[in-house]
Symmetry: C2
Subunit: 357 residues, 2 copies
């Protein structure tokens, strides 16, 4: 075994250990979607709730109810600012939850909407948020059928938090999931990555930067998923690349399936404005959230028709094949850089871009 292989093996072994939550206090990193979130979820919530459906760690639970298969999911949204180029917390909250259904192969049906509003929040802004939610649900053919509103004192919230839950129908005989991925599969992304995360960072005005052409990519991916599943029965796993970005998803897949994922850096589609902002921020675009892009892992034999199906669709413009699944190194993601080197792509550590969704 070479020195390099030894290192990889040591890391992979560490990854397989049961996670332990060492912190006594919650930090922003626990909400970033990366390593700390994973530890929190596994060591605290999975441990407490002990449910095999939850333990799958997919974006949705698929429930057998009589003859039907329902998908069920929830997400809380705490994005700051509430309004940003290309969207607001309202469409984000609808699309985000619908996407968690869509990547489970479920046609979106019903949504719940729950609001935690800070005293003093402008009614006009709440109206804009509700209108955006209604428009996003309409566009996706989903209905908002139940809800709740709570108000907290000034200084106990941040304007408005929105939590949505969704119910969808899995109509096809597919079982998608990270654990089904195997050696020989291809890894695709449905379009340029990082637009949403960088849009939010720029909208905060913390950076002395502007990108006139940059908008959040928030969108419901179901139409794209629907087309994709129609032409590519070899699709194994879909994930929308939100918190933690594409890198985190690929790590989750590598861990769940105990496969090695190799990504070609040069093949990853990133807009110039996103790449420029990432360089200034010192972060890798692979960790930046999207809200309307997904990672597709598909049987290598179906990679071409799958990529063609994505590319035909407006939501899949700029789709690309970015990597390959192999047997080695099990549980790890490697990046082949444009200069011919190779490095490990780890789970996101810390929280460089807090509250982007």
């Amino acid at each position: 075994m070479s020195a390099e292989q030894e290192v990889l093996e040591r890391i992979a072994r560490a990854r397989r250990r049961a996670p332990r939550l060492r912190e006594e206090r919650i930090t922003m990193a626990h909400g970033a979607g990366g390593k700390a979130t994973q530890t929190l979820v596994e060591a605290l919530f999975l441990e407490a709730f002990r449910d095999p459906l939850l333990a799958r760690l997919e974006d949705q639970a698929v429930l057998g109810l009589g003859a039907q298969r329902l998908a069920f999911t929830t997400d809380a949204f705490v994005v700051s600012p509430l309004f940003f180029p290309g969207g607001c917390i309202g469409d984000l909250a609808v699309n985000g939850t619908l996407n968690d259904l869509a990547v489970g192969g479920a046609r979106p049906q019903f949504l719940s909407a729950s609001f935690i509003v800070e005293e003093g929040f402008a009614v006009a802004d709440l109206r804009r948020i509700a209108a955006a939610m209604a428009a996003a649900a309409d566009a996706a053919g989903a209905r908002i059928v139940t809800g709740d509103t709570k108000v907290v004192q000034r200084g106990k919230g941040d304007g408005c938090y929105v939590t949505t839950a969704g119910v969808g129908l899995v109509e096809r005989d597919v079982t998608l999931g990270a654990a089904t991925v195997r050696s020989g599969d291809a890894v695709l992304v449905s379009g340029p990555i990082g637009d949403h995360g960088i849009t939010i960072m720029l909208a905060r005005g913390d950076l002395d930067l502007a990108a006139d052409d940059l908008l959040s990519d928030t969108a419901c991916l179901w139409p794209l998923v629907d087309d994709l599943l129609e032409v590519a029965p070899g699709v194994r796993c879909l994930r929308d690349a939100t918190r933690g970005g594409v890198a985190t998803i690929l790590n989750e897949i590598a861990t769940a399936a105990q496969v090695g994922v190799v990504v070609e850096e040069g093949a990853v589609p990133v807009r110039d404005s996103v790449r420029g902002a990432c360089e200034l921020l010192g972060i890798d675009p692979l960790y930046v959230a999207c809200e309307g892009r997904m990672v597709v892992v598909v049987d290598g034999a179906d990679a071409e028709p799958a990529l063609a199906a994505l590319s035909r669709h407006a939501l899949g413009r700029g789709a690309a094949r970015i990597g390959t699944v192999g047997d080695e190194p099990p549980g790890l993601v490697l990046l082949r850089t444009q200069f011919g080197g190779t490095r490990i792509v780890d789970l996101l550590v810390g929280d460089p871009l807090p509250r982007i969704c």
Copy 2:
């Protein structure tokens, strides 16, 4: 028409007008479950989402999916303090959502759990909350199958907010709802009211008061509902009496069914400690929240077996018949006081007991 009747008629007319949201800013009253909440929901959310299932204004949406009827609901929980005698935000969040299913006649099945945690929150407290949720779900035979966690900066939350959504199965051929109530029905409550709300107020320590015997009534009502529906097919409407209390629910029923509800003050079960605290606070126990009590409206002919079914059950100890539904005055709730007088019981105005759930 007598002067009194004229006043009643004028009020009833005002109630039938489409609500208008006049405030420019959200106030605590918008979260209290009373008049301001109703206006916010009808003038803003119903207006934006325009869905007939939502417009029913029940605690849950009942969805036809193939051969099955599913109930779907959500609630956000922002209770302060997070831990109190008899429970914590965790069991409250599970029981509250399961009760919204139960009062729709649905057997609880699946839950989602979404957390908005403030940076710096103690991991041990989050563990206690999760353990309480697991225990409450287990006790009710429900499973927590999907979830989400977000972290917000210190000062942008208040420890931990929990939003749950629930899916249940409506197995019986019943359609419960406020609009089905009619003249001649009886109004029951399943036990002494106000325990939860007063427990929370005392736990805050704002009052120089203690009541050693007082605990939150948080509980899942499904077993009680299940027994009740078995023996009393004449049940028209069930509502768990949370924010806004029994008074608000009766008003919602009076409005939805355009009936008059007459409540006998002397028949309403209230513990001495709750009554004492209410007197000090200057509030009527009819407006104080419970988290494990429900209002039952049942065909008068079924009132006795219904009351007997409630009383047989541990969750229904102290159940009582508190009133009667008549034709007059349509849309209003009247209280016959213990001194022989009559007064209107309006929707809750303002927010005397903020963040009790």
